[in-house]
Point group: C2
Chain length 349, copies 2
């Protein structure tokens, strides 16, 4: 199985995606093509030796080869016409945030018939919109943190007790997120969040809550679950920490978690994954509070695809790539038009 | 305001979309470009005089001009390079079902920066997946019909009492839907539905339930709501009826509904529309049962865009086109990469 790695994208996690791709390159030997999506929606073929962050920060990539999307793949412009980019079987969507995680790229890849590892459109929408995540989790039988949803034009009547956390409804990164400990700070926190979305979520903020991350995927009938991680972090993962986090290449040991909790976390993960996330390796971040497991968020494209939590990581991706969900073939017919036309008689057709 | 009309698509409603486009052409004078999406994902420019059903059923359209999608619009292939298709300001997504209503085309149009009337990606996903519709309606404070969700591999333990209705989870048309009146028929109905989706919904079926359709949109701060319609139909709208329904060009009078119910239906419509459906003219189909209003389904792209329910229809679309939701501009920076690089010193960059 040969992979193409798609990274970059028009989002606040553009840089993080580059760092993540560079990290993944180091641990995944069978990536044969690197495709960079720039902030203007252009796709660029990147030579492996140019997979260095300055190549993008300096815009040197623009001296390289631009690709276009057509049915069946990416195409290289040639003197006469265009030629399909060969050399890979399955693409890995590593565009964190924005277009990568909101379902835009999933739609493009599906429309243009490019097989890929990553969340499909529905899964992307459900994990990108934090309100839909809660509704979905509820439907799937997994608890979430209590919340209020506030629109930009709504009265700012927040009932959640302090301390609380304010989050833009849709941004995946921690941009626009703030913890509020004093009532006088709430307005500013809301202003900040509304900079990034017309809707925000307000949730109670629990100091030092236990947090566990579970990553995995279903491959056919088999579940592959990574080592459970208890993220070491400050109040919440700020952007700089996240940046460093996405670039890591070492392995992570399993968190110190008893068997019963571990089993319960894995059960919750499987419920969230359901069939919606087929084709993706995702990470669910759970809180454990007063004995209850609460889904905090779904990362449908975790940083450097969470390789550091798995043994035989290249093998996991290989097998996942061989078990991607298939679109049902639909062949539109003209049965009704033909019927109506023939009722009208041949002349009128 | 000049419109392009996009129709066709890879779906069971391919034909219906053609009929719908032909009907809309008759009532909307300011459509200047017709773009057909064929079943293979090809976009074709159609001359107004070729907007007849046989032009598509016969594949005559293939003798015409093929378009490609690039940033900023559709492009016509020229001897040297390509040229942007001019002559329209806003595109109307009239691809019913499949790619049109599941968020695929919304994603493409957004990615390639083509302004359009139609549901955005999130709205499409929420209305296309009938389970998500129920979860969303619940979150928005609108009741729906009770249901069971069944996966293709689940035990067929259905608790819903007879008569019941079985529906594939995602198909917009009535294909794969059956009413079951005898227990012995359930298996066959499930088999039929699972032909089209790996998940199905089972709901109680209420004979002769009152049904009302409400169509409309929000334009800035103003709501535009069409005449309330009580659909005349059999048990449920079968495909042939729907076909005829989508082609109609006459007007429809308001249903005989008292003011209180009318107001309640409109309130329910507004709750469903929320901000999620900004940019779209949608139709919500409600049941009224034992005094309760229940959302049955959301049609994010109603047949010939439900023109027959509105006065001054071209004006409604004009104003909607002038009030489309805007994407927030995101300009990725390289702040963190630059920071890390400069910490490493200039040489290592």
């Amino acid at each position: 199985m040969k992979f193409a790695l798609l990274f970059g994208g028009e989002s606040y996690e553009h840089e993080i995606s580059i760092v993540s791709a560079i990290a993944l390159k180091k641990v995944l030997p069978n990536v044969s093509q690197y495709i960079f999506l720039d902030a203007e929606g252009g796709f660029w073929l990147i030579a492996p030796e140019h997979m260095r962050s300055d190549h993008f920060a300096d815009a040197t990539y623009r001296k390289g080869e631009r690709l276009s999307l057509e049915r069946g793949g990416f195409y290289r412009k040639k003197m006469l016409g265009s030629k399909r980019l060969e050399g890979f079987d399955v693409l890995i969507n590593l565009v964190h945030g924005g277009q990568g995680e909101d379902g835009t790229l999933a739609s493009l890849l599906e429309f243009f018939d490019i097989p890929f590892i990553g969340p499909r459109r529905e899964a992307s929408v459900v994990s990108c919109n934090k309100w839909l995540t809660k509704l979905y989790a509820d439907g799937a039988g997994v608890d979430t943190v209590a919340y209020e949803r506030l629109g930009i034009d709504d009265a700012r009547e927040v009932k959640t007790p302090l301390p609380l956390i304010v989050k833009p409804l849709r941004l995946g990164s921690s941009i626009g997120v703030s913890v509020v400990r004093e009532a006088g700070r709430l307005d500013y926190a809301l202003d900040q969040a509304f900079e990034f979305d017309d809707e925000v979520l307000v949730e109670p903020f629990v100091e030092g809550i236990a947090e566990y991350n579970v990553a995995g995927c279903r491959i056919g009938d088999e579940w592959v679950i990574g080592r459970i991680e208890a993220p070491q972090k400050e109040e919440f993962l700020d952007f700089e920490q996240k940046y460093l986090d996405f670039g890591r290449t070492g392995e992570v040991a399993e968190a110190d978690v008893d068997e019963r909790l571990k089993e319960a976390l894995i059960q919750a993960f499987k419920r969230v994954y359901g069939t919606l996330f087929d084709g993706a390796l995702i990470r669910c971040d759970f809180f454990v509070h007063e004995g209850k497991i609460l889904l905090n968020e779904i990362n449908p494209i975790p940083g450097s695809l969470a390789h550091y939590l798995f043994d035989n990581y290249p093998d996991v991706l290989d097998r996942l790539a061989q078990n991607l969900p298939h679109k049902r073939a639909i062949r539109p017919t003209y049965a009704y038009i033909d019927k109506v036309q023939s009722a009208k008689g041949p002349k009128s057709r």
